[in-house]
């Protein structure tokens, strides 16, 4: 059974972490909790243990250049005794190239850490998934690691310095039968008619 107390512990640890770790790890933790694949990888491992490990890799390895994933045999030779090294390799191999190269370099650095070899309960696959999740939002990662300010949320975009978002011109976010019965949702936002009483329940 999943240890949700451990997830709660991860939130608590992030809340008391200093900057930039807190700004870096809170969105990563939140996204991790909403990622079924990652949560599956962590089924028998501790998220609260993996998160700071990955945070450390990201902070200390921010200057590292992406590099190609080594061959499987080369990779496995770096990971003697690491139980899920092959799964981590296969996961990384399937990532899009730019993401793969960033994760690859960090995984190789991670394998130099004793924590992965000391039977400390770390999963290389979970580390790879967390790294992929972090690098998937490279603009935020780069922004925070460069020590730049994180904008207030959810203040109005203009007030927070962000550009005012244009109204979505494409289709509404989700289609529903109900929507067809009502005025176009986005039109309603731009020209808010008050038709709730006319909307079919």
């Amino acid at each position: 059974m999943r240890d949700l107390k451990d997830v709660e512990r991860a939130f608590g640890d992030v809340a008391v972490a200093g900057d930039p770790v807190q700004r870096l790890l809170r969105p990563l933790l939140l996204r991790a909790t909403q990622d079924p694949g990652l949560m599956r990888s962590l089924a028998t491992h501790s998220l609260s243990q993996h998160l700071p490990f990955v945070g450390e890799l990201l902070v200390e390895g921010q200057a590292l250049e992406p590099r190609p994933l080594p061959s499987l045999s080369e990779f496995l030779s770096l990971a003697p005794g690491v139980e899920d090294a092959e799964e981590a390799y296969e996961f990384t191999k399937r990532l899009p190239a730019t993401l793969r190269e960033r994760v690859a370099v960090q995984l190789c650095v991670a394998l130099e850490s004793r924590a992965l070899h000391d039977d400390a309960g770390l999963s290389l696959l979970a580390v790879a998934r967390l790294l992929a999740l972090a690098f998937d939002d490279l603009p935020y990662l780069t922004h925070v690691l460069a020590g730049r300010e994180v904008a207030e949320f959810p203040a109005d975009a203009v007030a927070s310095g962000a550009p005012n978002p244009a109204p979505p011109l494409a289709k509404p976010p989700a289609r529903s039968r109900r929507r067809k019965e009502s005025p176009g949702l986005f039109e309603a936002v731009l020209e808010p008619e008050p038709p709730p009483h006319r909307r079919k329940k």
């Binding site: 809170r26 079924p36 949560m39 603009p139 935020y140 904008a151 936002v189 808010p192």
Partner: protein, 107 residues
């Protein structure tokens, strides 16, 4: 927030409001690398958006919208991490607490 309020006043359902905010959120994130919010679900069906610094926006099934903070427990946060559950492969937060200190209703 203004657009969300207008949509609320125009009678959008709570899930439509959450989807709208999700679209706006992605637009802002694309334009502003230092602005991040993550969408999560709560056990009562509420949608919450949690900012990188800890503030939260909650859209409840009865269409009430609140701004508050992420906390440890119901006594200190509109959305809080004590009592998480696991549903459909993802973590679900407990029902939000609109009465938590620092929480205000915006709609």
């Amino acid at each position: 927030m203004r657009r969300l309020g207008l949509a609320h006043d125009a009678g959008w359902s709570y899930s439509e409001l959450a989807d709208l905010y999700d679209v706006l959120r992605m637009q802002i994130e694309g334009a502003c690398p230092g602005w991040r919010a993550t969408r999560v679900k709560c056990s009562d069906g509420s949608h919450a958006f949690i900012g990188a610094l800890g503030p939260v926006l909650v859209i409840m099934p009865d269409r009430r919208i609140y701004l508050g903070q992420l906390g440890t427990e119901a006594s200190d946060g509109a959305v809080y991490w004590s009592g998480l559950s696991f549903v459909g492969g993802v973590v679900v937060f407990p029902s939000p607490n609109p009465s938590a200190p620092g929480t205000r209703q915006v709609r």
